[in-house]
Structures are given as structure tokens and as C-alpha cells.
Amino acid sequence: MIDRCRKIRADILAISHKSGHGHIPTCFSVVEALVAVYSTIRHDPLRPDWPERDLFVLSKGHAALGHYCTLAEFGYFDVAEVERFGGFDSRFGCHGDRLKVPGIEVSTGSLGHGIGVAVGMALAEKIKGSGRRVVTLVGDGESNEGSVWEATMVATDRGLDNLTIIYDHNQSQRRCLQIPNPGERFAAFGCAVSEENGHDVAALSETFKTRHAKPHAVIAHTVKGYGCKTLVDEVFAWHRRSPDADTLARLMEELDARAV
């Protein structure tokens, strides 16, 4: 794990402990993907409304804490501001609000929505003939929703080669509706498909830079809770749970163990 991702995970743990909120394991599975996205798209943290920027839509909105900590790491705001995460009048809710947080392009939360909006954004940029790209991150659980596949069909039917769909294949649905072969599904729906280790920032970044003649689905093979053994071993117990002080110390130790 690169230091930048370790730092973001430490921020997620500390803020979850302090606020009592956050889906830690799902945030941990997408940290590398988020870092790779913001390392490759055109954006300017000092000008979040820059008209030429590429667009990132977090469709699995419950990874908001991971998104906030990544945006902070890239300079959109000070991570200390996120500490009141989920607080009554905080800007930083447990699901992101585009009108409150710079860098959030679409307010998401209910699953299966962000990808459809991202498809509309990509279509708009094609109409305008701009070179802007749209990247969206969907969860494997989220992909139980039919709307994910409606959006994917539209994207491929319209040849949106400016759209990248990152699929967080963290096995979150193994107790109900797990999609066993997401790469085959996206290929069958007409996408160009890449399969990557979702915890390899360099590999993900290379993949995101590659352009294809059709929408690009990147299957990010990830581990829910990646970075802390406890979270990986007890993934369902930790789905939406915050650590107390002792547990936080233990999780920080696991994160620093550099076993991963």
C-alpha cells in the first residue's frame, strides 16, 4: 500500500471514530481507485468549477467518507473540516451533497443513480464535442439495481467512449446476489473491459489513461476492508460501525503493520 492510501485510510478511521459514522470497509475497498482517479483526470482542486475539468461521480454514495478524505488529500479542503462528518450542520454528510462539498459533482446515496447521471454527463460532452471525460464508481452491491444496467446499455448504445465505469468488485454481496463474472456482464453489455487489482494505484492509473472506442468498464478486484485485518475478517459486522478508542488504536496498528 502506498503511503498516500495509508494516510487516507488513517483519516477515515480517525474521522469515523470521532464522528461515530461511516462505512469503513466499503471506503477501504475504493481508496486506491479514488487516488488513481484523481491522479489521472483533469481537475484543479483550487478551481473545483473549472469548466474544462473531467467529471467523477461516486455512484456508490455510501463511500462518501473515503471520497471526502481523498478530496482533502488532493487539496480540495482541509481534512480537519471533515471531522464533524455526519453532524447536524456539517457540510460533510454520510452521503455527499454537491451543493455543499467542492469536488462532489452529483449528490448520491440511493444506489443505482450516479451511473445514470454520469451517462447523461458523458452524452452532453459528446454533444458539445468536448474532450472531457466522465468517470463513475459503482459498487457490486449497487449493481443489483437494474438502473445500473439500464445506464450501461444507454452508454454502449450511444458509443460513449468518454465514459469510464469502475466496478468495485469487493464481494460485498456474497451472502445474497453476488455477480460472479462482472467483466463478462459488462462485455456482454457492450463495454470494453479491463480487469485490475483494485489496490494497485499504478495499474489502475494506467488503465484509466487508456482510451477505448466504447465505454470502458474497469473491474477493480478489491477486498472489502482492505488494509486492516479485523475489518477484512469481520466484514459484515463492520459494514456500518465506528471504532471506539481502543479499537481505533488496534486498527491503526493493523494499518501500520505494512503487512499489506
Binding site: 445514470g116 447521471v117 451517462v119 447523461g120 454527463m121 439500464e150 445506464a151 444507454v154
Partner: protein, 289 residues
């Protein structure tokens, strides 16, 4: 009314390159010329109402003025959460224009009837809800509201009235008749074609709306000292009118039941007492009460 819709949207597209049409595989023939003229601004996306709304939100986010058009129950009830979140909560404006409501597809049965659309869309913060009754009203409202930056619902009708209701202004109700009998009939949309003849010669006020949200609360309040009979072939107007406190209202419209008949709009209106004689009888009952 769909013809006028197409004509007006085409005129808007001519003047404004941000106008984009998204169809749910309905009215495609109507838009043949549009598609030929502006192939990159016309998309018959398919029969996927959730995606239609979400894609419209994304287009709006990037500065376009989308018109989404499909059949009323599917585009509003199936996609309600997309309208609520992707449009309203995100403050992405878009125009939703439906056909088929209330009983325009009477023969297709309850799966294709839509009488809750106006009521449920009124509940969404930031949403404008329009039920133009005539083609002239539709054109005026399309032209004035298509780029207002808010999610805006235009409920088209295959049976518009042709009554000249005077100047059409967004958000304003219209008094079509004044009386001294202490009863005010309030109605909206194409049903005016039945309501106006129904109250002929009766000593009542008649107030008509094409905009259900925002409702013209000031105009409603002006009749608060009368008994108000809401006559509507949908849900939504009664709720809008009752936002004004202190009213005494009655409702002549739909039952709390599926309307399990087929036939035509006129057959179902007649069964519900929403043909002119049925409406007149309801008004007379209230006058006599």
C-alpha cells in the same frame, strides 16, 4: 396536443442549441424531422424510464435543457426516485413531458392509467407541476418555462379543450365565471371542457388552473368565504387547493379504487360522473346542500 408539443419544442430547439429531446420510444414519428435536423440532440433512448430521467439530469448538469418524453405512469411513477433525487435534490432542471394521463389510454386498463402523477410530483421540493388544458396554454408554458432551471412537469393530453381562457401566465389561476351562490368550482387541465358547460347558468364561481405547483394560493384564498368544489379527473388539485388554510372543500373526482374499465376517456369520465351532466349534478347538490 402532442403535435403542438413537437412544434413548440422544435421552435425552441431552433433558437436554443441547448435543447435536447430524449424519448422513451414514444412519439418517435412526430419527431422525425427534429431527428433529421439535429441528430445529436435527439435520442430515442429506449424503454428505460429510470435511465431517461437520470440521463436528463446529467445533460442538465452539463448545461443542456432536456425534454424527456414518455408515457405518464411509467415516466413518473416508475422513475419517481430518479425525479426526486437526480433532478430535484441535485437541483438539475429538466422538462418531463408525458402523454397518456389520466385515462387517455383508457382501453389499456389500469396499468396504463395515470391519475397520481400530479399529486406525487407536487410533493417534491423544487418541482413545478403543469397541467395545460389547451394547446395554446401548452405552447405558452413551454416557451416560458423550458429553461427555468427547475424540474418541470408538463402533462400533455390527447383531449385538450379549445376554450380561450385569456392570457396564460405560469403560476396564475384564472377566474372564468363569477356568481353569488356561495359555491366556487375549481378545476384544472382538459377537464375544463366538461366543467365549463356543466356550470352554465348556475350561480357559481369557476376558477381554473393550468399550474398545480406553485398553486396560485392568493387566488384560492380570495374564495375562502365560499364553499369550494374541486372537480378534477386526477389527484393533485384538491391537495394543492387545500394548502390554503381555512377552506371548506369538497371533491368530485376519483375514488380510492382502481378504475377497472376500458373503453375511452369519455366512457370512464361518464362512469365517474365527470362528464358534463355528472359534474352539473355534483355542483347542484352542493348548491342545494
Amino acid at each position: 396536443m402532442r403535435g403542438r408539443f413537437k412544434q413548440t419544442v422544435t421552435a425552441l430547439a431552433e433558437a436554443d442549441s441547448r435543447v435536447v429531446v430524449l424519448l422513451g420510444d414514444i412519439s418517435v414519428y412526430q419527431f422525425n424531422d427534429f431527428q433529421k435536423r439535429w441528430p445529436t440532440r435527439f435520442y430515442n433512448l429506449g424503454i428505460l424510464e429510470q435511465a431517461l430521467i437520470s440521463v436528463a439530469a446529467g445533460l442538465s448538469a452539463q448545461g443542456m435543457h432536456p425534454f424527456v418524453h414518455s408515457i405518464a405512469p411509467f415516466l413518473t411513477e416508475r422513475s419517481y426516485e430518479q425525479i426526486k433525487l437526480d433532478l430535484c435534490y441535485n437541483r438539475f432542471g429538466a422538462n418531463i413531458a408525458t402523454c397518456g394521463a389520466s385515462f387517455d389510454y383508457a382501453w389499456d386498463g389500469a396499468t396504463h392509467h395515470a391519475y397520481s402523477d400530479l399529486a406525487i410530483l407536487r410533493l417534491l421540493p423544487g418541482m413545478d407541476v403543469l397541467q395545460p388544458g389547451s394547446e395554446a396554454e401548452l405552447e405558452t408554458l413551454l416557451r416560458s418555462e423550458y429553461a427555468n432551471g427547475r424540474p418541470t412537469y408538463f402533462r400533455l393530453s390527447d383531449h385538450p379543450h379549445a376554450i380561450d381562457t385569456g392570457p396564460t401566465r405560469f403560476g396564475e389561476g384564472i377566474v372564468l365565471k363569477r356568481g353569488n351562490g356561495g359555491v366556487t368550482v375549481m378545476t384544472a387541465g382538459p377537464l375544463l371542457g366538461n366543467v365549463l358547460p356543466a356550470v352554465e347558468g348556475l350561480d357559481v364561481n369557476l376558477v381554473y388552473f393550468h399550474t398545480l405547483k406553485p398553486i396560485d394560493a392568493g387566488l384560492v384564498a380570495a374564495f375562502a368565504d365560499t364553499r369550494v368544489l374541486v372537480v378534477h379527473d386526477a389527484f393533485g388539485l384538491r391537495e394543492a387547493v387545500n394548502e390554503v388554510a381555512g377552506l371548506r372543500t369538497w371533491y368530485h373526482g376519483l375514488p380510492d379504487a382502481f378504475c377497472g374499465w376500458y373503453g375511452t376517456l369519455h366512457d370512464i369520465r361518464k362512469r365517474l360522473g365527470l362528464d358534463a351532466p355528472g359534474i352539473r349534478a355534483a355542483v347542484e347538490r352542493l348548491l342545494a346542500a
